[in-house]
Amino acid sequence: MQKTNEIRHHISAVSETRKITNAMHLVASARAKKVIPKMEYNRLYMLQVQSVMKDLLLSPHIERHRYIGKRTRKHKTFIVISGDKGMAGSYNTAVLTLALKEVTKEITASHAYHLITAGMMGEEFFRHRGIVPDKQLGGVTQDPSLYNARQIALDVLERYDTKQTDQVFVIFTPFLNGVAGEPVCHRILPVRISDFREINETEPAHEMLYHPSESEVFRLLVPQYVVGYLFGAMMNSFASEHTSRMLAMQSATRNADEMLDKLRQQYNLARQAAVTQEIAEITSAMFI
């Protein structure tokens, strides 16, 4: 009897867990679906912004703008986008390992740096390793909105404008062909012409009229680019996180199903064995 009870207990525990993983799978897939169509619009928007930026970068008037020029000092700012929760396969580990590598490079070279973590997992990860992030933004990755992207963008732009930092990098997980891709570390400031190699120019540059002037348009365009890029990075990360979680939970549910099958078989065997034993005991007792 002892054994069947134990197995029955185990079965109910596993099926409870299976319910949870299954629910998480459904929630994650719903969330991922919500953000994926928006990404296409942001891509179109960014293409437009980038093509105008490329035109401007090719024009001779804005060679020495503050958003382009290399600075001699190389103070780096990192924006690390991770999730708020685990249970998403290797999603958090992959992006944070890359971030740690980049930050460690700065530490070993004893350069000063500024670390911004978006997402609770990132903050915990760095604190655990004795690196305290300079700015923590918990919760923003659960809501990839333009408002949040703008807040981060304004903050880094101000640091860049006041020369507190010289390079801004964003570390995130791109969402490629329906699955989370390899995490990347991308420089958003300063802007270089080589960043736009794959972008088509819209019009022959000399024909274009810039109103009021090239440098003024460029000065206003760069913040839009930064906001758009961060928004895109946040949506990519969000979609990656939730598809990773979806896949992780799907396989967890499958494992639970397999386990339940095995347990039920064991349970039936144990029950049968108990019944057989009881019959044997009764029949043998009759002859005494």
Binding site: L146, V217, Q224
Partner: protein, 142 residues
């Protein structure tokens, strides 16, 4: 009727408008600017002005008003693209939220602020006021 041209209005969240228009009026840093078909290629920033700025699109001879946030207009050969952070028809404007933002930013502007905070709040206030003005005008016309 004036010659139509292709007009696309893109935001990072959606494609607000894509189709033929006869004209478009935007507010630029030095005043309002109207673009018709065959305009010379040009790029200009679009700004938000809480008091007077406006954004109108002429679709099939009817001028329609909408709210537009900061952005850019790129006029090409018979294709004009406006890309902006946000764009809304008057009926889609969340008046309550705009009122709330207006109240909050006005309150903040009364306090001592850093230059950055001042600028951010000023822009937010301009946006809220423009939204309210457009939603209000629409209601009057009904």
């Amino acid at each position: 009727m004036p010659t139509p041209f292709q007009l696309d209005i893109l935001t990072p969240e959606r494609s607000f408008f894509s189709g033929e228009a006869q004209g478009v009026i935007v507010t630029t840093p030095d005043g309002e600017l109207c673009v018709l078909a065959h305009h010379a290629p040009m790029v200009t920033p679009v700004t938000v002005d809480g008091e007077t700025g406006s954004f109108h699109i002429n679709i099939d001879g009817v001028w329609k008003m909408a709210f537009i946030s900061e952005g850019f207009m790129e006029v090409g050969h018979n294709r004009t693209v406006i890309f902006t952070q946000a764009c809304e028809w008057p009926e889609d404007i969340d008046v309550q939220r705009a009122e709330e933002v207006k109240r909050r930013t006005e309150e903040k502007l009364r306090q001592q602020l850093s230059i950055r905070e001042y600028r951010t709040n000023k822009i937010a206030l301009a946006r809220a006021m423009a939204r309210l003005r457009i939603a209000h005008t629409q209601n009057l016309n009904k």
